[in-house]
Subunit: 230 residues, 2 copies
């Protein structure tokens, strides 16, 4: 990749030394620079200098965005990246990595995609043989105080489809094995102001019709979350 663009560097002194100093990276399919797991042996001492040089080189190469992924052990590098103009993009699912980003072109608006935008919530309407619907009471959270009976469900995991998520949540909360029948509604629950955990992201709440594999299933409640079911 550096060879391909070395003719851009004729105005610079010692382009080879300079290029050797560029942080290890790859180019993604949107022509952005990705600096990820290869930063293990970089000391905070020379990180600032190398990142500064790298940004200069990538600008000369006409690169667009830079995604910089830092492990939590490298948290000391975050203030350095921020000083050089990076913003926060997203945290990994594990919370052990942070991706920061910067937009390089000065003559074009930033069109990098944002971080994940939504939560996906799922709820299952489980039809039983007696025509009754399975309901649960939660142990904690706002619905526990008001003792609301609600459809079993919860938040989808990052890689899950709606179908996978609703079958898993119903099984976890109630022990009932079901099959998916239909997606019956999708509504957008906007975040409440001040709910920091939600970070201003909507919950795309999907209600699904499910059928119990057994007409009269035995309930087995999730110990941490579910107080009762019927």
């Amino acid at each position: 990749d550096m060879a391909e663009t070395s003719d851009h560097h004729q105005g610079m002194s010692k382009p080879t030394e300079r290029n050797a100093y560029v942080l290890p990276h790859r180019i993604d399919s949107y022509r952005s620079v990705v600096v990820d797991d290869a930063l293990e042996d970089i000391s905070p001492g020379n990180f600032q200098e190398r990142l500064e040089t790298s940004l200069d080189v990538w600008r000369l190469q006409g690169r667009r965005g830079v995604f910089l992924k830092l492990a939590i052990q490298q948290a000391g590098l975050i203030p350095i990246a921020v000083r050089l103009g990076f913003s926060f993009h997203h945290a990994s699912k594990s919370g052990r990595n942070l991706v920061l980003t910067i937009w390089l072109p000065k003559d074009r608006p930033n069109n990098l995609p944002s971080g994940p935008t939504h939560f996906v919530g799922v709820a299952g309407v489980v039809m039983r043989g007696d025509g009754k619907i399975l309901l649960v009471q939660e142990k904690s959270g706002p619905s526990a105080r008001s003792k609301i009976w609600k459809l079993p469900g919860g938040l989808a995991e990052p890689r899950e489809s709606i179908e996978e998520a609703v079958l898993r949540e119903v099984l976890e909360e109630t022990g009932v094995e079901t099959k998916f029948v239909a997606l019956t509604s999708v509504i957008n629950l906007k975040p409440r102001k001040g709910n920091v955990a939600r970070g201003g992201r909507s919950d795309l709440f999907c209600t699904c019709l499910l059928k119990s594999l057994q007409a009269y299933p035995t309930l087995s409640l999730q110990e941490n979350e579910i107080k009762d079911a019927k």
Copy 2:
């Protein structure tokens, strides 16, 4: 809030001094501690001590999670929070704030919700008077290289519903005003490995049937993103 729980602190010396030292915070509806925009006047010098004391007090109070929101100007505090056990939770939409989190109870598993889990993608099938479907070619990204004709669409903004997002994207990309008819399919596009910008999150891709407000609309293409439409 401190008054309510002051009787828990009888074993501690100088509980009042100690409590005054606790970082400004509030308790959310899931019994978690939220420390947000009130940190402006805290210096890195005493942040570590105050955060350490705060965590001790919150543990004694039986609090569960702590959400700590730092502005990008306070990036120097991130390594301190990480040293005390915090993980990354999510970045704000603007990229100018980072939320970190820690789980306090030592005898119960962490059940804090994760950060936003999904992207929501939308695409519009726009019916015109001649029965033809509106298609676009993008200027950049993987589909530009293969010159694919595709449905107009894109990613939903964090607060948008599917309906709002698809009407906006079609209007932005093509200039065509439409009304929503039906959600016709929802599929889960799992992230490609190594796509750092997606951070391992799925794209819940929603195709919607739309009807053009004019039978034969005039096209007006988005300059930055759309190369052609038909």
